[in-house]
């Protein structure tokens, strides 16, 4: 046995990746339900996705406050009781507000579904938004914000989005304490009325699916005046700012700077999108990427540096993100541009490209392990108004994309003048 020689491997590109198909039905009111029945444990996740994100709000923070307060009191149960009803059965009911959508997600042992669905139904039909609950929410949100504002990474994340999309755009807007102060229960009730009670909704269920799931969901949600979403929203044009380079002093005692370098980028429907996913992996998308190898593993400027395309539906941004030592921030920025130049000017070698292909294929295979993960893939496709072909086309792209195509994409997109550049210390 020679330890210098690697054991033979099956090339990951030879793996036949399959995305387990979902099952589909609609409730009596037309609300679509997607299910994945899989997994070894008796657990279940049910997600209700409403088109109630901050895209639709007139005043800042209304969408997220409404979503949060769904668990803070109905006409029959107090906030404490709602929490206790879930927690008694060891279940988690979480809420999250995104740009287009706002989600209620219930995870539990499958056997408790009949006990818990009625509670969720009450939340989305009978939330009363008590004054004192909103007061506590406002106070605690402002406190949390004051702590976050001291962190350079938090400040940088807000500002870079505001530069790329414009501060008035749903993707670029951010919260100030005054916005939280301005919230009142009337705004929340109105938003609830329009976007939950009479809103549009899609349901995703994954895990050990009980035989009577359709019946249970229908009994709880099928008669409500919610409807099937169109899976599209009216686009709001982004208004990027004109100045591209920023240096911000946030904390006089800061020992690191948060670096964000970003450019506008089209959404998944653009033919370049899935190809750029491969280029991005090579550039800064995994531990062996160019950025990581150079800036962490060779220079030691940072604990980690990553590039990614933001997960937005309408338009998006390609972002490089890192926290680096205060004294090496400018050197880090320079190295990022050097890596862009290399990708523009020198075609990637076959060995490195093969490594990226194999890494991506192996990761997808690993990511599809488990019902929640499979549903996560489907959910992303469905909310992006895409179908299973997109998944298989992506696989084909990973297997087939050439070094020349990657160079051409780098020339098209990795152009320093197109990037916003920010360092917050």
């Amino acid at each position: 046995m020679d330890r210098k020689i690697a054991p033979p491997i099956k090339d990951a590109v030879e793996f036949d990746l399959q995305l387990k198909p979902y099952e589909y039905f609609t409730l009596d009111n037309g609300v679509p339900v997607y299910t994945i029945n899989a997994g070894t444990q008796d657990v279940l996740q049910v997600e209700l996705v409403f088109y109630a994100g901050n895209w639709f709000e007139d005043k800042k923070c209304v969408a997220s406050a409404t979503n949060f307060m769904l668990k803070n009191g109905t006409s029959k149960r107090t906030a404490f009781q709602l929490n206790e009803d879930f927690e008694y059965y060891g279940a988690y009911c979480s809420r999250a507000c995104y740009n287009e959508t706002a989600v209620i997600s219930l995870s539990m042992l499958s056997k408790y579904l009949p006990k818990l669905l009625p509670v969720v139904q009450e939340m989305i039909t009978d939330s009363i938004f008590p004054e004192e609950e909103l007061a506590v929410y406002k106070q605690n949100s402002k406190q949390r914000l004051s702590v976050s504002l001291q962190k350079c990474d938090f400040v940088a994340n807000r500002l870079i989005d505001a530069y790329v999309y414009g501060e008035q755009h749903p993707y670029g807007t951010y919260t100030n304490a005054a916005d939280i102060d301005a919230l009142d229960t009337a705004m929340l009730k109105k938003y609830f009325q329009q976007y939950y009670l009479n809103g549009s909704c899609v349901v995703f269920a994954s895990g050990k699916i009980p035989a009577n799931l359709q019946e249970q969901l229908n009994a709880n949600f099928g008669k409500l005046s919610i409807s099937k979403p169109t899976f599209s929203v009216d686009n709001i044009l982004s208004k990027p700012v004109s100045e591209k380079k920023y240096r911000i002093q946030n904390d006089p005692n800061g020992v690191q700077g948060a670096i964000r370098i970003a450019r506008p980028f089209p959404n998944r429907h653009d033919p370049d999108f899935m190809k750029v996913m491969v280029l991005n992996t090579l550039f800064g998308g995994f531990f062996g990427s160019r950025l990581m190898s150079n800036i962490r593993e060779d220079k030691g400027y940072t604990y980690g540096i990553h590039s990614y395309v933001q997960n937005h539906l309408q338009q998006t941004a390609w972002m490089i993100s890192t926290e680096a030592g205060k004294d090496v921030c400018e050197a880090t920025v320079e190295e990022v541009y050097k890596e862009m130049k290399l990708l523009r000017e020198e075609p990637v070698g076959e060995e490195e490209l093969s490594l990226v292909r194999n890494y991506l294929m192996g990761t997808i295979l690993g990511d599809l392990d488990g019902p929640f993960q499979i549903m996560g893939r489907w959910k992303n496709l469905i909310l992006n108004n895409l179908d299973g072909n997109y998944f298989y086309d992506s696989i084909k792209t990973i297997k087939q994309i050439s070094a020349e195509e990657l160079s051409a994409l780098a020339k098209k997109y990795l152009v320093p003048e197109d990037f916003y550049e920010l360092v917050v210390i």
């Binding site: 279940a91 702590v147 995994f286 295979l365």
Partner: protein, 413 residues
């Protein structure tokens, strides 16, 4: 029920196999029985720095990551005060690649100068990112020194100071490797779409030839029972006052550990927990409050921490918190509360066991504690806890003499 097979190689390496044919993947998890608690007090942060160096090339293989990525694999590692754990996941057909890589770095590292130079810097940036450049980032540094007088839990895994990491030498690295990274100090778990026969053959082939080395005998100073309350006041550039209290609890193998664990859920687990309801919602003294422990192997700490609502006096907040603890000590808990925290534990275990990677890490961890089959009796141990035990333990744990308090004041009011 998690099935597994277990065998020991002649060089002392313990091997566990957990077969799960429902996944196309395999997980290879190598746990080394060394953590920050095994460090020299003048060279702290070493176990963790060492974890970084394990990716800097081994004796026969110049780089670790690339061959694994080429095989479609992903990996990571973590260090705690108790242990260092390395894991990778890859398509099951390629599992031998992981055996090759992991066995070579157990055999010997390359001990390259460049790797040490770079990783010292990387770890310093990690230190800054998580513990210096963040409001309240130094809390655990201070709390550990307050709560532990002699046990090496006195310092954080990242190290007591940046200088310890900066001053690490190649000699230190070599000595640490040969002391701790031997087969008899390691546990190998292979899980997923693998058969025990194949794992046995591969383990013998790749790990069998590694010399046994010397078994490291741990002999740490154990923390004496705390006999008087301790406290520390800190002023820092943070927006809000915060209160941190820690009490010594039990070691991971003590049966009272399960009781203490459920106490944290009664007090701080979720929106219907006692502290959240009383102190955040009703009295509005804190904007958040949490109760948890770290699951340390040696006697750990039960912690309650929260940020005060602006304008609230620290002593008032502390008094209200103590009142909740007294209620628990005097009145105990209801059957409903007990059922709730047990149900929560049951579902938490089910969710954790969904992933093969998590099952592999748990098996390694229980084997380290003395017996991998503990993985299948955990839930029963929680189920057996009674309300009376919870009350008794809350009296013992929340004894004022057992308490360490950190008053963290904002100086930018």
């Amino acid at each position: 029920m998690i099935h597994f097979e277990r065998f020991i190689l002649p060089n002392g390496l313990r091997v566990l196999v957990h077969e799960d044919k429902s996944t196309p993947m395999a997980v290879v998890n190598v746990l080394y029985d060394v953590g920050a608690r095994d460090e020299d007090p003048n060279k702290t942060g070493f176990a963790h720095l060492f974890e970084h160096l394990m990716f800097g090339g081994s004796i026969n293989i110049p780089v670790y990551d690339e061959p694994l990525q080429q095989a479609g694999g992903e990996n990571n590692a973590y260090t705690t005060n108790d242990l260092t754990n390395y894991y990778c996941q890859l398509p099951a057909e390629n599992v031998e690649t992981a055996f090759w890589l992991e066995s070579d770095r157990m055999l010997s590292l390359a001990f390259g100068k460049k790797s040490l130079e770079v990783q010292r810097k990387v770890v310093c940036e990690e230190f800054k990112e998580h513990y210096i450049n963040k409001p309240y980032g130094d809390v655990w540094h201070k709390m550990r020194e307050l709560a532990y007088t002699i046990h090496p839990y006195r310092w954080m895994t990242i190290g007591a100071s940046l200088s310890h990491v900066e001053n690490a030498t190649l000699e230190d690295v070599k000595a640490f490797f040969f002391k701790h990274y031997t087969p008899s100090n390691a546990i190998l778990v292979v899980a997923g779409n693998v058969s025990p026969e194949k794992v046995k053959a591969l383990a013998e082939k790749w790990f069998g030839p590694i010399p046994a080395g010397e078994k490291y005998e741990r002999n740490l100073p154990q923390e004496p029972k705390q006999t008087a309350a301790r406290s520390l006041e800190v002023k820092a550039n943070v927006p809000l006052d915060a209160l941190y209290k820690c009490w010594h609890i039990y070691s991971r193998t003590d049966m009272r550990y399960y009781v203490a664990d459920l106490v944290t859920d009664i007090l701080g687990g979720g929106g219907s927990s006692r502290l959240y309801q009383a102190l955040v919602k009703e009295k509005q003294l804190f904007s958040n409050i949490e109760c948890y422990h770290l699951g340390s192997t040696d006697t750990g700490l039960l912690t309650i921490e929260g940020k005060l609502v602006k304008g609230v006096n620290m002593k008032d907040a502390e008094a209200a918190l103590n009142e909740e603890l007294s209620k628990l000590q005097q009145d105990g808990i209801t059957q409903k509360e007990l059922d709730k925290v047990k149900n929560k534990t049951e579902s938490m275990i089910a969710f954790e066991d969904m992933s093969v990677m998590s099952r592999a890490a748990s098996l390694a961890m229980y084997e380290l504690l003395g017996d991998a089959s503990l993985i299948n009796v955990e839930l029963q141990r929680y189920q057996a806890v009674t309300a009376a035990q919870l009350q008794t333990e809350s009296r013992i744990i929340f004894d004022e003499k057992n308490c360490n308090t950190l008053y963290y004041y904002s100086d930018n009011k």
